[in-house]
């Protein structure tokens, strides 16, 4: 009876969403039961048995978060050409991973990044610095993911956001705690399939509708069927007319764009939950080829996203700008209810004035800005896109399931890094080396469970600045891990003194700069007034998002300078570096 009432209240979109979500969740749980981890090696690195194609898919799902799936196309559609910093920044890092990091770390063969840093720099304090960085970076990230799960639940199923977070927690708890890396890997493979299907199906539909070309990547360079102009020219034209500035022109400073792209690339290459994926493959050459697969699978979404951005932006401007409010389609009112779309009829003429309110339009007049009556949340571009384009209900439901898959897969990968860092790097390697295999596995499971709880708590009570905190994670990874690992492999002379100083100063500088500009409230409490977070006040015009690139350069300079001024590392370490550089068989050894 209750069930019937519940079903009767649901509109068809909700029905589809619920159905697709339930089917995918059942698949994830089934996989977790099938892939239960029996040893610490399976729990940490899936027993080194993952084929490179599967690892590529899992890495792609691990890497593409709620932000990539839900927000990125929306951000690009607002900033236009400058959106390239995310597109290149979040893919270019894989070139560095494949060429400079993954094969060597896989050959080193231990379980974690702190393991490598601890052994290469022959010191447990180096290991602890690395563990603290890994835990901090992963936690900042995972809170955002849990929140993403809550948002999808609340928008599509009208479930309370907090309950949404709890459902997500329960699910991740089940398959991360039980299956460990092995369970996570194969659920991520399934999640990749769900999310890529959910992203590309609407993109293809809309590409056909607007341009007649079924491939979105080509479609957004083609002619707009309704007007006969090239789609990009048309979008440039309308954008300029409405005072947003041309879509295909940039507005950010070149140095800032350069630094942000660099920080995102180097951060990608230094993020522990991405690096650890390359420990899970059978052979060193599989680490290289799985990086290729990973980028291939990521590129499918990342090359479609700028197309979706253009389609969605054109559709939105065509449908909304200068039209009568009373003639808006139903989706407009639906999204108004969620608060993501806000219309305020300032001049009471019943027409939606939507006009340039972007940073791009530097010479806008205050009067123009005051005239704008529409506020659009950027997440709408992906979430409401199928509705705006009048696609069937099941496509809308699919997008919700895709958003959930993206958030859950990333959350699980991050939680595993945290539990490994606690159980392996802290408890086993630092405090209690005599811990038995069985007990270590138990500690790892408890740590994973604890991490889920903490992440869930922050998902329900998010810290004030979630977006700011994510920028933090990239800056930190770029300015700490990246130089330490690169020098560890490519420069035998790098020693503990140089590298630890470099890591600490690099992180310290980056963190201080971000806190100074982004957490003004915090600074005020200790009696320092931060200037406004804008280009005139920044160091060389570099925004806090890009400062990790400078932190990394400082790290490199200090690490190299101080290593040269102090005594070289012991010969065992130089030997270890050789073993990482050359195939095992060059030493007549089997793995």
């Amino acid at each position: 009876m209750l069930d019937n009432m519940f079903l009767a209240q649901m509109d068809p979109v909700q029905g589809w969403t619920l159905g697709i979500a339930l089917v995918t969740f059942t698949v994830y749980i089934g996989i977790a039961i099938w892939a239960k981890a029996k040893s610490t090696k399976e729990f940490y690195i899936a027993g080194k048995g993952v084929p490179s194609l599967a690892n590529g898919m899992a890495t792609a799902a691990d890497w593409m978060s709620a932000a990539s799936f839900i927000s990125m196309a929306g951000i690009i559609s607002v900033v236009g050409r400058d959106g390239s910093m995310y597109l290149m920044g979040w893919t270019g890092g894989y070139v560095l991973l494949a060429l400079l990091l993954a094969p060597y770390l896989r050959r080193f063969g231990k379980y974690t990044v702190p393991d490598f840093i601890g052994d290469r720099y022959y010191s447990s304090s180096a290991r602890i610095v690395a563990v603290v960085c890994a835990i901090f970076v992963s936690f900042t990230y995972v809170c955002g993911q849990m929140q993403g799960v809550g948002i999808v639940f609340s928008r599509f199923l009208k479930v309370d956001q907090d309950h949404g977070v709890m459902i997500g927690m329960g699910l991740v708890f089940f398959y991360a705690v039980m299956g460990g890396m092995k369970g996570i890997t194969y659920t991520q493979v399934a999640q990749y399939c769900v999310l890529i299907f959910a992203f590309t199906v609407p993109a293809i539909f809309i590409a056909i509708q607007m341009t007649g070309n079924p491939i979105p990547q080509f479609g957004f360079g083609a002619e707009h069927q309704a007007s006969g102009e090239f789609l990009l020219d048309r979008l440039d034209g309308i954008s300029r007319e409405l005072g947003f500035g041309a879509y295909t022109e940039g507005s950010k400073g070149t140095l800032d764009l350069f630094c942000i792209t660099a920080a995102l690339m180097l951060g990608t290459a230094g993020l522990p939950h991405v690096i650890v994926r390359f420990y899970t493959v059978k052979k060193v050459k599989d680490a290289r080829s799985s990086a290729l697969w990973a980028l291939f699978f990521i590129a499918i979404l990342y090359t479609a996203a700028p197309a979706v951005a253009v389609f969605a932006r054109t559709n939105l401007l065509d449908t909304v700008a200068g039209k009568k409010y009373s003639e808006m389609p139903p989706w407009f009112k639906n999204w108004e209810e969620t608060g993501l779309l806000k219309f305020e009829d300032k001049n009471k003429d019943g027409v939606i004035q939507y006009t340039g309110k972007t940073e791009k339009n530097k010479d806008r007049k205050p009067a123009d800005l005051a005239m704008n009556e529409l506020t659009v949340n950027r997440d709408i571009m992906v979430l409401a896109n199928p509705e705006i384009a009048n696609l069937p209900n099941w496509v809308v439901g699919l997008v919700a399931a895709g958003g959930l898959a993206a958030a859950l897969s990333t959350a699980a990968g991050l939680l595993l890094v945290i539990s490994t860092a606690v159980a392996h790097d802290l408890v086993k390697k630092t405090f209690n080396p005599k811990l038995s295999e069985k007990k270590e596995l138990l500690v790892a499971r408890i740590a994973a469970g604890g991490a889920v709880m903490v992440a869930g708590y922050f998902g329900i009570h998010p810290p004030d600045y979630v977006a700011a905190v994510v920028a933090f994670a990239f800056g930190l990874a770029a300015s700490s891990f990246f130089p330490a690992i690169i020098l560890g492999i490519f420069w035998k002379r790098a020693n503990i003194y140089g590298v630890i100083t470099g890591m600490v100063v690099g992180i310290g500088f980056t963190a201080a700069y971000i806190i100074y500009f982004k957490f003004g409230g915090l600074m005020a409490k200790i009696g320092i007034t931060s200037p406004a977070n804008e280009a005139d006040n920044w160091l060389f015009g570099i925004s806090p998002e890009g400062i990790g690139a400078i932190g990394m350069i400082i790290n490199f300079i200090l690490a190299i300078g101080i290593s040269l001024a102090t005594k070289p590392p012991p010969s065992e370490v130089q030997d270890l570096v050789d073993r990482v550089r050359f195939p095992r068989k060059a030493f007549k050894e089997e793995d």
């Binding site: 894989y94 090239f230 940039g250 590129a299 068989k585």
Partner: protein, 94 residues
Amino acid sequence: MSNTPSPEARARYWRKNLCWLGGLLSVWFIVSYGCGILFVDQLDKIRIPGTGFKLGFWFAQQGSIYVFLCLIAIYVLVMNRLDRELLGGEGDDA
């Protein structure tokens, strides 16, 4: 079974690896930071024939990603070959 490679063979392997790294990373830098950021406005004056893409815009939002894929693919092939050269026919590195 092959013999353990000589120190000279290993040095040669490493030198070749570094050369390839240098070359591929130069392309990586030129395409992403060069075409996509530093010279994007100059390239935008050129339009890819038959499409609405300005060249700089295309590199910034599409082309760079395709080039990244090619770079990794080349490196995978090169290293498999270098491994075989070093180990005499068996590039199986556990």
